[in-house]
């Protein structure tokens, strides 16, 4: 299948996970994008943006930051596309870039928040849609975890990534991801202990 055919067929076909043609089509799209086809890259964006958002959202604190990180991540991927080997899994490569973009954003936010600390004390993140006590407390509890612990527990328990995938994304060994998950769960258990007795 030529790259152009792959672009056309991908535009036409649904991008559901598990499609047996997806892997080869995706490879053709990557090759086409590497040859300069913006349409092929747009098709790759369409295929991966939901998962990319999930990865970013697990690492940053807000939906808006996740959107920013997704855009940054795709921009980085576009720039680095000529260095990607099409035989590798594109998703794993892309999500690692997304995780790095998110971690960069978190670092930048921390620096900015530290700069603004002397002027005003920012309120902890609150989801405007939170309706009940558990959600409020859970939101607070999540902000008390370390960035990595929060990322690991969300990526694993909400998004369903394996320890190995999480380790690869965050640039840590699989064992460390496993240990972070254990500590994150223990911390949440401790922080939500009194809420549990209330509900």
């Amino acid at each position: 299948m030529t790259a152009a055919t792959a672009v056309q067929s991908t535009f036409a076909m649904p991008s559901a996970d598990g499609d047996p043609r997806r892997s080869s089509d995706e490879r053709a799209l990557v090759v086409a994008a590497q040859e300069g086809s913006n349409e092929a890259f747009a098709a790759l964006v369409r295929l991966h943006q939901r998962r990319a958002y999930a990865v970013c959202r697990a690492i940053v604190l807000t939906h808006e930051d996740a959107e920013d990180a997704v855009q940054e991540g795709f921009l980085h991927a576009f720039r680095a596309l000529d260095r990607f080997l099409p035989d590798q899994p594109f998703g794993a490569w892309l999500y690692r870039i997304m995780a790095n973009a998110s971690l960069d954003l978190v670092r930048r936010r921390k620096v900015r928040d530290a700069d603004e600390l002397s002027e005003s004390s920012p309120a902890p993140f609150r989801d405007p849609g939170e309706a009940d006590e558990l959600r409020r407390r859970l939101t607070d509890a999540l902000t008390r975890l370390t960035d990595r612990q929060r990322s690991v527990i969300v990526l694993h328990d909400v998004e369903g990534f394996t320890h190995g995938e999480i380790g690869s994304m965050l640039g840590i060994p699989e064992g460390t991801a496993r240990s972070d998950l254990h500590h994150a769960r223990a911390a949440l258990r401790r922080l939500l202990k009194d809420v549990r007795s209330d509900i």
Binding site: N38, R50, H63, L75, F78, D127, V154, V158
Partner: protein, 127 residues
């Protein structure tokens, strides 16, 4: 997908549910279409930017300039070498034609003219 099992009672399900609700991705195609459009707009903007074009051409241009400078340098060096060699050769190599041979016709011509002049005068002076 793994369940969050903080505790083995009903509260865990609530926590898991809340955790997933907190991190739920926006639903609806219009949102994702718009996000894709924003991503691609940003990429196109960067892709078409003059700095990207400049960046794309900077390396080949630098390489071409370096090759040109090198070629010019080599050409100049060789020209100078040839010039120097020719100058040395002119100085050191004896001329294939003897100087006398070159000069003689002129001298001889002058001498003959003088002689002719003198002889002519003499012959003219005779009765």
């Amino acid at each position: 997908m793994t369940k969050l099992t903080l505790h083995n009672d009903g509260a865990d399900d609530d926590v898991t549910r809340e955790l997933r609700a907190l991190y739920v991705a926006p639903a609806g195609e219009p949102y994702w279409n718009e996000l894709e459009a924003r991503i691609m707009a940003r990429i196109t903007e960067v892709d078409l930017g003059w700095w990207a074009e400049l960046d794309r051409w900077a390396r080949p241009a630098l390489l071409a300039a370096a090759v040109l400078v090198l070629a010019a340098g080599v050409a100049m060096f060789r020209a100078r070498q040839v010039e120097t060699r020719t100058a040395y050769e002119h100085i050191l190599t004896p001329s294939p034609v003897p100087v006398e041979t070159v000069i003689r016709p002129t001298l001889e011509g002058d001498r003959e003219a003088s002689l002719r002049d003198v002889v002519g005068h003499k012959s003219n002076g005779r009765p």
